[in-house]
């Protein structure tokens, strides 16, 4: 019986780990983290809900931006963090204005 219980716990733990894996970038406080390393947004694509905050952490020694063509822009200095609060219309492609080969995508989900 004990063995069975442990097994069930293990199964639950595995399930929880899998769930955590699918929302790797999401923290408990409604902040979605995107790292910038070696001139790339990681992850490049994120799913967020309106009202949540995206936080970029720039680990490069270069200044970057998250820029939406014809829309908002966030400056992310080297070694710093910067945030953007997601609105309903934020399903967008974005890029770095200084290095336009760096591309990211935000998808707003319900």
């Amino acid at each position: 019986m004990t063995t069975l219980l442990l097994t069930r716990r293990q199964v639950l733990a595995t399930g929880a780990a899998m769930l955590a894996g699918s929302t790797l970038a999401r923290a408990h406080d409604g902040t979605v983290h995107v790292a910038i390393r070696n001139l790339a947004f990681q992850p490049a694509e994120i799913e967020v809900r309106a009202g949540e905050t995206i936080e970029w952490t720039n680990d490069d020694p270069f200044a970057h931006t998250a820029t939406v063509k014809g829309g908002w822009e966030v400056m992310i200095p080297p070694g710093k963090k910067a945030t953007h609060v997601v609105t309903a219309g934020d399903t967008v492609d974005y890029y770095c204005r200084f290095h336009p080969n760096m591309k990211g995508r935000i998808k707003v989900v319900d």
Binding site: L39, P61, F62, A63, P78, F98, H99, P100, N101, M102
Partner: protein
Amino acid sequence: MKTLISTLAATCMALTASFALAADKPTDPQIAHIAYSAGVIDVEAAKLALQKTKNAEVKAFAESMKKDHEAVNEMALALVKKLKVTPEDNATSKALVKAADEKRAELGKLEGKAFDKAYIENEVAYHKQVNGALETLLIPSAQNAELKSLLETGLKLFQGHEQHAEHVAADLK
């Protein structure tokens, strides 16, 4: 305009010739010197632009070039120190510096919009040439894995600069 185009073409040819000189596989100390020199050249061009331009977009571009190339050259200096490699001056570096000195003298004579346009067009051409050299010669020739990796970061960075310069060039038209 005709003069500008022919000068640009001459610069491109000079650069191609400089890199062609190194066709017999440069060594790691030579590669380090070439990459570092290429960075210094763009920092110098950026400093000239910051003195001369009145265009906000060109100024932001030049500031980004100065900071990025200084940062990547600091990484390069730290790496050669760690690897105990002494960068070695060579024909390619010399030809690059010579072509850049001539270009900078020429840009120095221009003012206003003519300067902005010529500076940005040269930035597009220069990054294109450097990226071509990185891809086809410097990265494949590099023996040390860390040097190769830094050159690959440099390539990504400079490909970004090339696109940024193209965006600015399009806005200046």
